[in-house]
C-alpha cells in the first residue's frame, strides 16, 4: 500500500516536471487578443515622409471600423528581427493595401534613425512615432517587434511576437479579412 503511494507521488512529480519542460517560456499571452478586446486608442505624430498622405497626426479610431488594421511595433535598434520583417510587411502592404491598413509604430527610437530605417526598406505604409513607448504599454507589448491584427470591428484578434514571416502574416490576415 505504502509502496504504491510512493510510486504515485513520484509519477505525479515526474508528470508535473514533464509538463513544465514542454511549456515554452517565450510564449507570452496577449490579454488583448485572448479576450478580443477593442484596440486601445492612440493619437501619435506621423513621421515626416508620410505626412503628405496621412496628415500631421494619426488617430487610430479614425481608421477603425472600415478595414482590418495590421499594427506593427518596431525600432531601428531592433536588429535583426525588425530588419528581417520590414521587407515582408512592405510586400504584404503593397498586395493588400486596398483591403487592409498597415500601420508602423516606431517605438522608443530616435527620429533620424527611424527615418533612415524607413528609407532603407522603402516603407510606403504609414509610420507613426512613439519615442516614449507609451502605446506599447497600452497594447501589453513585451518587446519589438510585435504585430497586432485588428478586425473590422476594431477588436484585437491576434498578436505575433518576434519577426513575422510571409506565411504567418498571410495566415493572420486571412483571419481578419472579410
Amino acid at each position: 500500500m505504502r509502496g504504491w503511494l510512493w510510486i504515485l507521488v513520484v509519477l505525479a512529480l515526474g508528470g508535473l516536471f514533464y509538463w513544465g519542460m514542454q511549456r515554452n517560456p517565450k510564449e507570452l499571452p496577449s490579454v488583448l487578443a485572448k479576450e478580443r478586446r477593442p484596440a486601445p486608442e492612440f493619437t501619435l505624430p506621423v513621421l515626416p515622409p508620410y505626412r503628405g498622405e496621412w496628415g500631421e497626426t494619426f488617430r487610430l479610431s479614425d481608421h477603425l471600423g472600415q478595414k482590418p488594421v495590421v499594427l506593427n511595433f518596431w525600432a531601428s535598434w531592433c536588429y535583426p528581427a525588425c530588419y528581417e520583417e520590414a521587407p515582408v510587411l512592405e510586400e504584404a502592404w503593397r498586395r493588400y493595401r486596398d483591403r487592409a491598413l498597415f500601420l508602423g509604430v516606431n517605438t522608443q527610437d530616435k527620429e533620424a534613425e527611424a527615418l533612415r530605417f524607413g528609407e532603407q526598406f522603402g516603407l510606403t505604409f504609414p509610420q507613426v512615432f512613439d519615442p516614449r513607448g507609451r502605446v506599447g504599454v497600452d497594447y501589453g507589448m513585451y518587446g519589438v517587434p510585435e504585430t497586432f491584427f485588428i478586425d473590422r470591428e476594431g477588436r484585437v484578434v491576434a498578436r505575433h511576437a518576434g519577426a513575422i514571416d510571409a506565411a504567418t502574416l498571410e495566415k493572420y490576415l486571412k483571419e481578419v479579412l472579410p
Binding site: 507570452l28 516614449r132 507589448m141 518587446g143
Partner: protein
C-alpha cells in the same frame, strides 16, 4: 568602551549599506511600486531595476499616475489590465497560482512527517525477549 565604538562603527556601516537612493526625478514610492511589477523584456528583473526602455516608461507611467492621485492598487491594476497577472512579481494568492504559495509549505510538512516517521522511537522489545537475551549473555560460552 572600545567595544561600544566598534558597535557604533558597525551600525554606521550597516546604515551606509542602505539601498542607493533613486534618481531625484522619481520618488522612492515609484520604485516601491515598480519593484512589484515585472519588466516585460527582462529575465527575472523588476521594473524598478531594469534600465530597458519599457521599464523606464513603466516608472514614468507610475510617477504620472501617482501625481494624478491614483493608489498603488489602482496602478498595479492598470498594468494587470494590459499584461495580465503575469506582470505581478508575486503571483496572486488565489486560483492556480495559490499552489505556488501552498506547495512549499505542503512539501515541508511532508518532509517533516517523513523524518518523524524515520526517527520515531522504536517500540520497546517485549520483556521476555530481553530476559532471554540477558540470560544467554550470562551463560558461559559452550
Amino acid at each position: 568602551m572600545r567595544f561600544l565604538l566598534l558597535l557604533a562603527l558597525l551600525a554606521l556601516s550597516a546604515w551606509a549599506q542602505e539601498p542607493a537612493a533613486p534618481p531625484p526625478d522619481l520618488s522612492p514610492e515609484v520604485f516601491a511600486i515598480a519593484r512589484e511589477l515585472r519588466c516585460p523584456v527582462c529575465q527575472g528583473e523588476s521594473a524598478a531595476e531594469s534600465n530597458s526602455g519599457v521599464a523606464v516608461e513603466m516608472r514614468r507611467i507610475i510617477a504620472e499616475m501617482l501625481e494624478e492621485g491614483k493608489s498603488k492598487e489602482e496602478i498595479k491594476a492598470f498594468f494587470v489590465e494590459r499584461y495580465g497577472e503575469w506582470i505581478l512579481y508575486a503571483p496572486p494568492r488565489r486560483g492556480v497560482t495559490l499552489w505556488v504559495w501552498v506547495l512549499p509549505v505542503l512539501g515541508l510538512a511532508l518532509l517533516g512527517l517523513g523524518l518523524f516517521a524515520y526517527f520515531r522511537p522504536k517500540k520497546p522489545l517485549p520483556p521476555e525477549l530481553l530476559e532471554e537475551a540477558e540470560r544467554r549473555l550470562k551463560e558461559p560460552p559452550t
